[in-house]
Amino acid sequence: MIPDQLTHWLLGRFGVSSLPILPAIENPTTSELVAAGAALAVILGAIGGIAFITWLGAWRTLWRDWLTSTDHKRIGIMYVVLALVMMARGVLEGAVMRTQQAFGLNGGFLTPEHFSELFSTHGTIMIFFVAMPLIIGLANYIVPLQIGARDMSFPVMNQISLGLTATGAALVMISLLLGKFSTGGWTAYPPYTGYDFNPGPGPDYWIWSVALAGLGTTMSGINFAVTIFKERAPGMTLFRMPLFTWTVLCAAIIMVFALPPLTVATLMLAADRYLDFHFFTNDLGGNMMNYVNLFWLFGHPEVYLLVIPAYGVFSESIATFSGKRLYGYASLVYATMAIAVLSFTVWLHHFFTMGQSANVNIVFGIASMCIAVPTGVKIYDWMATIFRGRIRMTVPMIYALGFFYLFVIGGLTGVMLANPTISYQVHNTLFLVAHFHNVIIPGVVFGLLSGYHYWFPKAFGFRLHEGWGRLTALLWIFGFSFTFFPLYALGFMGMPRRSASYTDPAFEPLMLVAFFGAALIVSALGSIVIQLWVSVRERESLAVPLGDPWNGRTLEWATSSPPPHYNFAVLPQVEDRDDFADAKAKGRAYMEPDAYEDIVMPNNTSLGMIICVSSTLLGLALVFYIWWLAILATGVIAVAFIARTFVLSTTHVIPADVIAAEHRAWLAGVHAAGPITRDAETRSANHGLASLELPTLAGAER
């Protein structure tokens, strides 16, 4: 059968049956219709996006100013946009799962198969393609500004990191259209994900999306670490760095050292599946326990990677909106470092129940509880920061309030789980699910949302609408509480995680409460979209071009909003910890320098996009066994990479007079504007210039 062989050679194991639309037509159950609807949404979303860009006539701009850009600020924004697109899917999946379980007494409307695909994609997307890109995007935007640098150390590598993250995200999205995603959870334990038990493309999708994105993250980690170590403005010693930068440094170290175990685990699993290796198989000496071990060697540091930068955001916003210096700067730094290092010593607490001896469990149990000490110190330091402050209840502070209350509860349940004897009971139950949403949502998500509100005016030159922001924050806080507190009780009642349905009628009332909470969360999401829309519409009256809407304390507020391509006309000379606050108090701020100099900036390049597209094709080829395409895509990546090393001129110069003109125009604006006091902060009078209403004179009491 020549044609058969040819299609096989051309298309591998891809076939018409891989399209989810067909089963939905043949057998229109609710479950299939939901799947087909999701696929349709992806297609329509893509078409809509393309149409919108065409309508704007923005293809050229998109390519020239964004996709090929090496500017850390644009790359940061692209990371965030990517994460928001993925978030739409992750949230909807969360909501669908809650709906399923609300009506899951003896069934529900989804097949078990479909439900397991949902929690697998939801977990994978939320961790790898929502939380991580949001954090990396935020750090990308803010860190060079905070340390007074012009860009990251390796701008092209930065672009490639983004490309690889986008590749992973694209693969997860494509899995809705072609074939099916894994059903093995975000942890993908073999042998369930091994070839014998799951020969289809699902686990392969998981492997390649996670492995490729993980590679990108490792590179981001290297980039952040080197940038923070080597690109700081003169005078910015390590112990003068803003806390957010410190937390990104610690997160970067985790990226560099915690991603390798993931790479090893996924590639070993791939070797088992593709090349008949026996790392984790049932037979011939494979040892699945090593997979579990390797995965959590990555997995535990990973979740702290997510939360540590969120701690950084709270450190910045709480100090700013309390109008105070941060209490216990050194303590906070040491606590962050302690958390980062300890995060590498506790991974076994995710499998206390595997059968190792009591002594092993004890060592890792105690190590896990030790993390409560530095975390507690952080909480207390922030409390001491608001103590004797002048607190403005802006949106970030509402999130901070929610964080104080809810995160501490999540931490408490974490401490419970760190006790092996308790973990024996609640491991793998909804109690665990409640724990980690209880630390991730009040910690990571609230941190990111408050960072979003705090830094948005820096990136776009106008503030977000305050009223809608407050409503969103409250909906989040209550929605979260209603959704996840019932799950603690369900966990105590022994309901396993990842259950599509249950038979105990006692679960139902709690499930309905959780369903109500999920509805609130979805309306929070709606409210945040409306907030953005309203803010864009009213951007004239919300504009803060002068750059300092919140009476900020750190360097990123010392430049215009949005900042120029080169960030600072002249690199700042740092003299104090909260340098910009110090500068404002001592009248050093907004000074015209003696002289302007030429600035060298990196050129645009299409390398990142080439790598992104080819590695997406590579991933698809591997998932569907299309070997010629895999070889071709690898070849393109290698050639593009080597060709790039033959490009000698990679920078361009911005002449001093251009810079001088731009800077003088901004300074003129500053001198013409009237500074505002903090009670006018949320009104249209705020153009981004703060009056010295809250003086930094020691012990002042007005």
Binding site: N282, G328, Y329, M354, I366, R388, T421, R498
Partner: protein, 326 residues
């Protein structure tokens, strides 16, 4: 609900704490006992006690947050010009000592308790009991549990009976993907893995029927992989053994092969069971003595297991049933 409240027999200083935890469970009024907060054996009771202890100790560090945060947000609000304002105050040695010291001490206390309880409740450790211990070999299958009583020559699917007050010593493995066995009202869980043997000990100090389950996701039928653990008087247990012997069918390579194929307890009850066996449950009388050892040893013999011979795998073919009735 009564069941839970009537069990409030522990010291009163814990009562308050426990109530605040169990208010969450107010709506939990199922007949079946399925929570370690309503324990029926010493291990689960100790686990609950430990949970309460951890909760109580952490409150020392956590209550100040709950109380002080709202007070401070109110007192130091922007408009309150009467409150003291110290914008440059950023360090106090004593405060720092307290901040590091208190959590440190608490974690120290909790660590010693963790140490003791982890050793005491090690699932591999036999539980002291007056009754003679019962040995059970547990095989996790897709999606049911097989319990072999090697000393009694019987086996069951999805029903684990034992005399009240006897320590049940389980050897646990699976013949498919990884699973995890737990009877919440009696003790915690342990993983079951192919080719490996883990151990779990449970003991019930009252009669009753308790939910047991697999908590480790293992495929489409995962939610159906439940069983009943029944603690009964010794007389009842003897009678139960006799009933299983009388109503059971032989457990040999063929019937085992059909058990091992991916199906729920209810489904195998349809094909192999008889009306004398409870719903979703199977009884076996003549059990091949080396069955458990074979299940375990198959994976470590150094030969490849093709997917046709791997229960749970796509493409598994149960051994041909010579003279089977289907």
């Amino acid at each position: 609900m009564k069941a839970i409240m009537s069990r409030l027999s522990f010291p009163t200083r814990h009562r308050l704490v426990f109530c605040s935890l169990s208010f969450l469970l107010l709506s939990a009024c199922s007949e079946q006992r399925n929570s370690f907060l309503d324990p029926a054996g010493p291990i689960a009771a100790a686990q609950r006690a430990h949970l309460i202890e951890v909760f109580a100790w952490t409150m020392i560090a956590i209550l100040p947050v709950f109380i002080l945060v709202p007070l401070m947000f109110w007192r130091y609000r922007y408009r309150n010009r009467k409150a003291r304002y110290t914008p440059d105050w950023a360090f106090s040695g004593w405060l720092d000592l307290l901040m590091w010291g208190v959590p440190f001490v608490i974690v120290g206390v909790l660590s010693t308790q963790l140490w003791k309880s982890t050793h005491a409740l090690d699932p591999y450790k036999p539980i002291a009991s007056t009754e003679a211990p019962v040995n059970v070999q547990v095989v996790g299958l897709d999606w049911k549990w097989l319990f072999i009583y090697p000393d009694l020559g019987i086996a069951t699917v999805n029903e684990l009976a034992f005399p009240v007050g006897a320590s049940v010593a389980m050897d646990v493995t699976t013949d498919t993907v990884m699973q995890s066995i737990m009877i919440p009202a009696l003790a915690g869980q342990i993983y079951a893995m192919p080719g490996m043997r883990t151990k779990l000990h449970v003991l019930a100090d009252e009669t009753g029927s308790f939910d047991g389950e697999n908590t480790q996701f293992s495929g489409a039928g995962f939610t159906e992989q439940k069983f009943e653990a029944i603690s009964m008087t010794s007389q009842d247990f003897t009678a139960w053994v006799a009933k299983v012997k009388a109503n059971g069918i032989p457990l040999d390579a063929t019937s085992y092969g059909r058990l091992a194929a991916a199906s729920t307890g209810a489904q195998v009850h349809e094909t192999l069971g008889s009306p004398q066996m409870p719903e979703g449950v199977l009884y076996f009388n003549a059990v091949e003595p080396a069955l458990f050892a074979n299940v375990l040893g198959r994976y470590t013999q150094g030969t490849a297991i093709p997917s046709t011979l791997q229960p749970g795998a796509v493409g598994y073919v149960p051994p041909a049933a010579a003279g089977a009735n289907q």
